[in-house]
Subunit: 290 residues, 2 copies
C-alpha cells in the first residue's frame, strides 16, 4: 500500500508482470444477514470471506480492498464498529489491507466490498475451461455452514465459525499445469459445478458419496432431521474451491500430493462427460438433471 | 480488459511501472438522488462521474470499474435499465470499462461504484502536499451544478447537463513538475480547499472575485434570488480540479499555457499562507474562518 484512506483515492503498487483481479459483492441486512443470528463482527468477516474467496477461485494473491458501508443513523454504534472490526480482522488475516472506503446514509444496512488481487499474467483460473474427461475435485469439506445456519435459525445458536477463503490453494492451483475450470463453492456444490458447464454442452458425473463433509456431520444432521447429502450438495457459503484437472494431470499429481501442494485436503468428486448436465445427484433430492 | 463479467472476478492488465489507484463511492436514493428530479440515466452517469473525478484528482488514467446495484424487486425495469445505461455511457466515454458487478435485493436503491486507474509510480497527485507560498488554481467553472439542482427543485426542471470529470487535466498535472496539493471539487470549493490544509497549520487566502463561474451565471442566480458567490464557493458536484503550484512553477507555466496543457481553462483563485485557515470568504456568507 502506497497511500491509504484520506485522499481522493488509495494507491497500491501491484507487482510488474501481473494481471489485476477484481471482484465486488454486497451483503444486505435482512437479505444476506441478520444481526440477531450472528454478531456484527462475524457479519463483517463473512462479507470479507465471500470476496476473498472470489480471489482464491481466480488464483490471485490479495492486494487490498475497499468497503462501502450504507447504514441508517439509527444503527447502533457497537454494530457498526463490530462490522468494521470484522472486515478488518478478516482482511488482515489474509494480508489484504483495507485501503479505502465510503460511508453513506441509507434506511437499510449494507456493505459492499471490492477486493483486488494479482496473478501472474495469463495464469488466472477460470470457470469455463473444463473439457470432457477432466476429473473434478473439491477442497476441504462441504455442508458445515448450512448446518450452522440451520442450527442458528432453529436453535438460536449464534454462528461462530467461519470458513477460510482458500487463497493459498487457489494460488497453488494457478501455478499448476493441467488445471481446467475453477470456481468457489458459494451457492452450493451442484449449483456451482453447473456454472462450470455454462456455455458448453458438457455434462458432469458427480460421485455424491465422495463429497467430503466435516467429522460427525451426518450424525449431527440426522439428529436434527436434516438430510446430510442435501446440505453437502446444496448448502452454500462453504467457500471451498471446486476445480477440474485434465486426466493426465490428475493421475500425475494424485489426490494426496495435490492436497499437500494446495495446503488443504482435496477430494475427487466426479468427472466431466460429453453431455447431460449434472448427473449422479440422488433422485430423492429432486434434481435429476440440473 | 482481459476477462469481463461472468467469472468469479474480472481480470485487467495494468501497465508495468505503474501504481494502482482505487476509489469507491455509493449513491443512495432519497439521500444522493431522486428519480423525480433527474432521469435514471443521469443518475447512473452522475455516479460514474463522481468516481472518475476521484481518479482525475489523483492524476490517474482509468483502467476499469465495477458496480454493485442494490434495489428492491419493485424498482421499475426502465429505471434499473436507465441507471445501468448511464453508468455504461459515462464509463465508455472515458475508456473505463465496466468489468464486473453485483446485483442484490434491498428495500432502497443504491449503487456503489469502485474505479481503478493507473499512474506512473510515484507520480500520483495528493491532497496534503501544499506549502506556504503555493498558488491555488481551479479548472473550468464552479456553481453551475448548484444552480441546476436549485432549478430542478424549485422549478421542476430536470437536470440535463453533467460536469465532465477532468481526467485529461489530472493526467497532465501528474506529469508536471512543481505541483503541490490536488483535490476534486465535489463538496464545494471552500470545503474542498480546506481538505488541502488538513493536518497542517497552513492557511489559504482565497480571492473570491477570481472564482470562475459559467457565462450568464450571476444573472441567472439573481433572477432566482440566489447568491451567485454562495453557489460558486459552496455548491458541490462541479467535479472541477483544485490544485496548487509552487510559486516558481506558477510563474514558469503561466495561467494561459497551463490551461492549454491541461486541456481546460484554469483560473488562479488564491495562495497558500502560513496560518489562519481559509481566508477571504465574504463575511455575509457566514464563514470567516472555515
Amino acid at each position: 500500500m502506497i497511500l491509504g484512506p484520506g485522499d481522493d483515492a488509495a494507491v497500491l503498487r501491484p507487482p510488474d508482470g501481473c494481471d489485476l483481479v477484481v471482484s465486488t459483492d454486497s451483503l444486505v441486512e435482512d437479505v444476506h444477514f441478520r444481526f440477531s443470528t450472528q454478531s456484527a463482527r462475524l457479519v463483517g468477516r463473512r462479507a470479507m470471506v465471500a470476496n476473498l474467496s472470489d480471489l482464491a477461485a481466480m488464483g490471485a494473491r490479495p492486494l487490498g480492498c475497499v468497503a462501502a458501508l450504507c447504514a441508517p443513523g439509527s444503527l447502533e454504534l457497537r454494530l457498526a464498529r463490530g462490522l468494521v472490526q470484522g472486515l478488518l480482522e478478516e482482511a488482515g488475516a489474509h494480508a489484504c489491507p483495507l485501503v479505502g472506503g465510503n460511508l453513506a446514509s441509507s434506511r437499510q444496512t449494507s456493505v459492499t466490498i471490492t477486493v483486488f488481487g494479482s496473478v501472474a499474467r495469463g495464469r488466472d483460473l477460470r470457470r469455463h475451461r473444463v473439457r470432457a474427461g477432466d476429473r473434478v475435485f473439491v477442497t476441504g469439506t462441504l455442508g458445515g455452514q448450512a448446518l450452522a445456519v440451520s442450527r442458528a435459525e432453529t436453535e438460536g445458536r449464534p454462528i461462530r465459525l467461519l470458513p477460510t477463503p482458500r487463497l493459498r490453494a487457489g494460488q497453488a492451483l494457478a501455478r499448476l499445469s493441467g488445471v481446467g475450470g475453477c470456481i468457489d463453492v458459494s451457492d452450493g456444490l451442484v449449483a456451482d459445478l453447473s456454472h462450470l458447464l455454462e456455455g458448453s454442452d458438457l455434462g458432469l458425473q458427480l460421485e455424491a458419496d465422495s463429497v467430503p463433509t466435516p467429522a460427525g456431520f451426518a450424525a449431527a444432521c440426522r439428529k436434527r432431521g436434516l438430510d446430510p447429502l442435501r446440505l453437502a450438495l446444496a448448502g452454500g457459503e462453504d467457500y471451498e474451491i471446486a476445480f477440474t484437472l485434465r486426466p493426465q494431470a490428475a493421475r500425475r499429481h494424485g489426490v494426496q500430493a495435490l492436497g499437500k501442494r494446495l495446503g488443504v485436503p482435496v477430494s475427487e468428486v466426479g468427472r466431466v462427460v460429453g453431455s447431460g448436465g449434472i448427473q449422479g445427484v440422488p433422485e430423492h433430492l429432486g434434481w435429476t438433471h440440473f
